[in-house]
Point group: C2
Chain length 321, copies 2
């Protein structure tokens, strides 16, 4: 029997990290340990992880010696740190180099986008990827598009409001930009496959369950709900203006997490609906591998099935626990 | 008969550009035009190009409308602009996007090195590559390692001094770092093949004639010259110190071209001999294609044959005309 790979996961209590932890457990192929920052140590979600018998390291990401201890014997280091904290990964990867980690998976897990100049959230990740390449550590970058869980419209009956983070029915531009979408719950299932695969070493990989335009999403929602949806248009110019405004607000107060968040959201819209970056053609251009081609035997959740569940009251509002 | 690709070349009078122009002419597969900046318009080397009947566009790289005219109908845009001017390419590639160019080859043509953080000359190129990816233009990055012409030692008899740019016999570190080396004259021959090849679209490619350590280079030089070479060692610490000093001098006066040049040279040494970036393993890690594997039928000039020519008085000092 093959020896299980030892994986150390940072950010295990976030939405992406939770999916990764579950996906790795589900596969049964890994010995999993979790890295927690002191600020998170007392979270109930961390206690739940510990109650499952998962070894938890509580370490300050600035303490290189402690990091090297935690990384000793680790095969794969995965980071699902929050977007506002990505630059905190820098010392972690230096320690990973010293510890001789066989593969690092830095926090990517976003839409496919240009390496620099289109989205602050992507630019900061690029800074970390460049550090990794400077160190020469084997790596895999995994991007997942946008989540189903934040890509569905509300219906007039109010049936799906309970699961909607920001209930609204905006249609961006003409609603025909296709976007790579992945069910949040499938991220970990993809990750479990990707990190066991030599073909993905030193490569970028994108995942998706479906590739849908907003018009197609609305059609599915109307068909499944039997309701007629209303929508509010947001023009290309309005999207561009919102980026200009969000950038100005952010530059005046770069420490404000809300201003950062609004900049992320407006730039995501520009990238997804105006630039149309988050699609296979642009991913191919950037040199990504397609996870669906790599793992044809794995059938991810479809958006249709996801939305049927939400209508059925079985959804969950993300960022709510 | 296939229609010839139309190529527009910027930097045709520099060392790399001259090689590219010759390589494209030699292949017979291209309609070649040349883009010259007004500051170079009256150079004798530009007149020589015009005397060959090659169409020459004299355009300011800040004049987008003029650039679009020159780029109209161009299939491939190649830039061999000097390292100090790489950021001047930015408007050129914006114009290339508007003109619908099928492939751009931004000025790379250096050693294999990390995208950011190891060499200023590489960092500035990365800024341009990121612009290209933001624009989504089809591209090819071609790196060539270091030239034979600046990689050979002098011999005690003084026979090769005439062809040496900076005559010296320094051995860096223990002299065992392998480096990708290409004869300057082969760059254009590789480029002619690479730009006619769909496999290299949106890819990085490295070329080499030989992969040699300094010890191997000295052995060849001793064997061919029959002379016993002397050398001066430069330790890893001395190389690292020279980078620290060059960075300090450059930061005090970033407009000084000599301080920039010294920084380039010291960082090249660090990258080639201490970090050992300029070799196939690191190029593979960064996702480069190997031009020798792509074109097995093409035999580039060997370092041995190159040095025999130099000993025979048939060399040429680069940067001397």
């Amino acid at each position: 029997m093959a020896v299980k790979q030892k994986v150390l996961l940072l950010g295990a209590t976030g939405e992406t990290g939770t999916s990764i932890l579950k996906g790795l457990q589900e596969s049964g192929n890994f010995n999993i340990e979790v890295l927690v920052r002191p600020t998170s140590a007392n979270k109930p979600s961390v206690q739940k992880i510990q109650e499952q018998g998962i070894k938890t390291w509580c370490i300050d990401l600035n303490e290189s010696t402690d990091l090297i201890s935690a990384l000793s014997g680790v095969d794969v280091l995965i980071s699902a740190i929050g977007p506002q904290d990505v630059l905190q990964q820098k010392k972690l990867f230096k320690a990973a180099k010293l510890a001789g980690i066989k593969r690092v998976v830095p926090c990517a897990f976003i839409t496919v986008a240009p390496p620099n100049g289109a989205m602050l959230v992507r630019d900061e990740k690029e800074e970390v990827y460049n550090d990794i390449k400077l160190l020469g550590i084997p790596y895999t970058i995994i991007d997942v598009g946008y989540w189903y869980q934040i890509s569905f419209p509300i219906v007039p009956s109010g049936k799906v409001d309970y699961a909607s983070v920001i209930p609204n029915n905006t249609i961006h531009g003409d609603g025909t930009a296709p976007n790579l979408l992945t069910d949040l719950r499938d991220i970990g299932r993809f990750v479990a496959r990707i990190i066991s695969d030599d073909r993905t070493l030193n490569k970028y990989v994108y995942t998706f369950g479906d590739i849908l335009t907003e018009k197609e999403i609305y059609r599915i929602a109307e068909e499944l709900s039997g309701e007629k949806l209303e929508s509010t248009p947001m023009s290309t110019e309005q999207i561009e203006d919102s980026v200009v405004q969000a950038k100005a607000a952010f530059s005046q107060d770069p420490q404000d997490p809300m201003k950062r968040m609004f900049l992320y959201l407006s730039e995501y819209k520009l990238s997804k609906y105006v630039r149309k970056d988050n699609r296979p053609a642009y991913a191919d251009y950037l040199g990504y591998l397609n996870a669906r081609s790599l793992y044809p035997e794995f059938t991810p959740l479809s958006f249709r099935d996801f939305f049927a569940e939400v209508l059925d009251g079985k959804g969950r509002k993300v960022y709510s626990s």
